[in-house]
């Protein structure tokens, strides 16, 4: 399987760890990641036995994928089954508002992915009649067929220091799941 570099805390059985340059996505993936700034150092873990992964005592959430695509910030990615393909995709203004850059990591295929969050993530279902709005600082990942749009509530009041406190929001429409954490990263939107 693939895991974030240095995230192994213990294992039993036989294991071999090998750094995968460029996220194991080949030369093209490597170049894309370098250009997009969505850098992610992963290692390949091979062998049999049990391997434990952890990172700074963050909460870990398991996501099962059945042929669909998970979009996750590379900083929240911990480990994935080897059968899953990882890549990068463009996120547009949402990424900019989170301070995480304009690109995000995608994981595709069949298998399990472990993602990290600050506090246990809440999984929210989005369907046609229930669109969801999320604070960029609390967003961790999403999967399924979702359209995201960026909402800005910046008005002249914000400039006067009388803003609504939630000036930037991401709106998800369509059909899928969104993972949010009970904490907000520091974002440029955080204090507006």
């Amino acid at each position: 399987m693939k895991a974030k570099n240095g995230s192994m805390v213990a294992y039993d059985g036989e294991m071999a760890f090998k750094k995968l340059s460029g996220g194991g996505e080949g030369i093209r993936g490597m170049v894309t990641r370098r250009i997009t700034g969505e850098q992610m150092t992963v290692m390949e873990v091979k062998g049999h036995g049990t391997c434990w992964f952890a990172d700074r005592a963050s909460e870990i959430n398991l996501v099962g994928l059945q042929g669909d695509k998970l979009y996750v910030e590379s900083s929240n990615f911990l480990a994935a089954d080897a059968g899953l393909r990882t890549g990068t995709s463009f996120t547009g203004a949402r990424g900019a508002s989170q301070g995480n850059g304009l690109f995000t990591t995608t994981v595709e295929g069949h298998g399990q992915v472990a993602i990290m969050s600050d506090g246990p993530a809440v999984v929210l279902r989005v369907s046609a009649q229930y669109p969801l709005t999320v604070d960029p600082g609390a967003y961790v990942a999403h999967q399924g067929n979702l359209r995201q749009s960026f909402q800005s509530g910046v008005t002249f009041r914000t400039l006067l220091g009388e803003g609504g406190g939630e000036a930037f929001q991401i709106r998800f429409e369509g059909d899928g799941l969104v993972y949010v954490q009970p904490s907000e990263r520091n974002t440029i939107a955080g204090d507006v």
Partner: protein
């Protein structure tokens, strides 16, 4: 841990989703919340700064710390809204025609049926009336009955009982040696020589850790004689858990007759 997928039908109304996330149901109603504590919502909800003109009446009836207003917003609309605060434990509490004083950094949100006022105790806020509020704490909250002495760092708030006073372990504090010990920390400071003391009928809320949550500004009180924290003179009465540096110095000086 199996993952539960929430949607508006399965999310609880005005209850916890997990120990760190609270869900508020709005049906055309309003809630006050601290800026930036909303993490997600379903439905149509507007967030407006307290200074918003339309909210003037609401602010007049239930918001009484004028200079603290810029940290708060009013959520208005219909739908379900999730609140969380830096992955701290959150809980809701019901007040029935009561009053509760809480550390300013711990209060997350409250219903406008409650009135928020600055407490006379600096750094604390008082809620008066009937309604629900949401507060964060570092570790689950424990409820205690007075008479009780509590560690300053563990105190979250108190309800219905008179204001606390400082308590110092007497044997430790008296005499020249005691003074020296308190000043230098030499000779075994247990770190528990100073407590807050509560007496009378009521409830004291404690958090199960001594890590304080970062304090929120409560706004300045009018600069008037007799207003704690409002006077221009520097720090009247050491207000926090450090066994008072300025106070102690005075004590020692007095002991030496300086």
């Amino acid at each position: 841990m199996s993952t539960v997928h929430h949607d508006p039908a399965t999310l609880p109304a005005d209850d916890n989703v997990n120990p760190y996330t609270f869900c508020v149901e709005l049906k055309g109603s309003q809630w006050f919340l601290q800026k930036g504590k909303m993490i997600a919502y379903y439905g149509t909800i507007d967030f407006n700064g307290i200074g918003h003109g339309r909210l003037d009446r609401l602010v007049r009836t239930s918001f009484h710390s004028p200079l603290h207003a810029s940290d708060w917003v009013v959520a208005e609309g219909s739908g379900k809204m999730l609140l969380a605060d830096r992955a701290f434990d959150v809980n809701s509490y019901d007040l029935e025609d009561g009053n509760l004083t809480i550390r300013s950094g711990n209060l997350l949100a409250f219903q406008p049926s409650l009135a928020l006022k600055q407490s006379i105790v600096p750094g604390f806020l008082t809620l008066i009336g009937t309604g629900k509020f949401v507060a964060a704490s570092n570790g689950p909250v424990v409820f205690m009955e007075p008479p009780i002495r509590v560690d300053p760092q563990a105190l979250v708030g108190w309800a219905d009982c008179p204001s606390p006073c400082h308590h110092y372990d007497h044997g430790y504090m008296t005499g020249l040696l005691g003074g020296l010990r308190a000043m230098t920390g030499l000779g075994g400071a247990s770190g528990e020589e100073h407590q807050f003391e509560f007496v009378g009928a009521g409830t004291v809320l404690l958090q199960s850790s001594e890590a304080l949550m970062p304090e929120q500004a409560t706004g300045v009180t009018p600069q008037q004689a007799g207003v704690p924290g409002g006077g221009a003179s520097g720090a009247p009465g050491g207000r926090s858990g450090v066994p008072g540096l300025p106070g102690q110095l005075g004590d020692l000086q007095r002991r030496f007759g300086l």
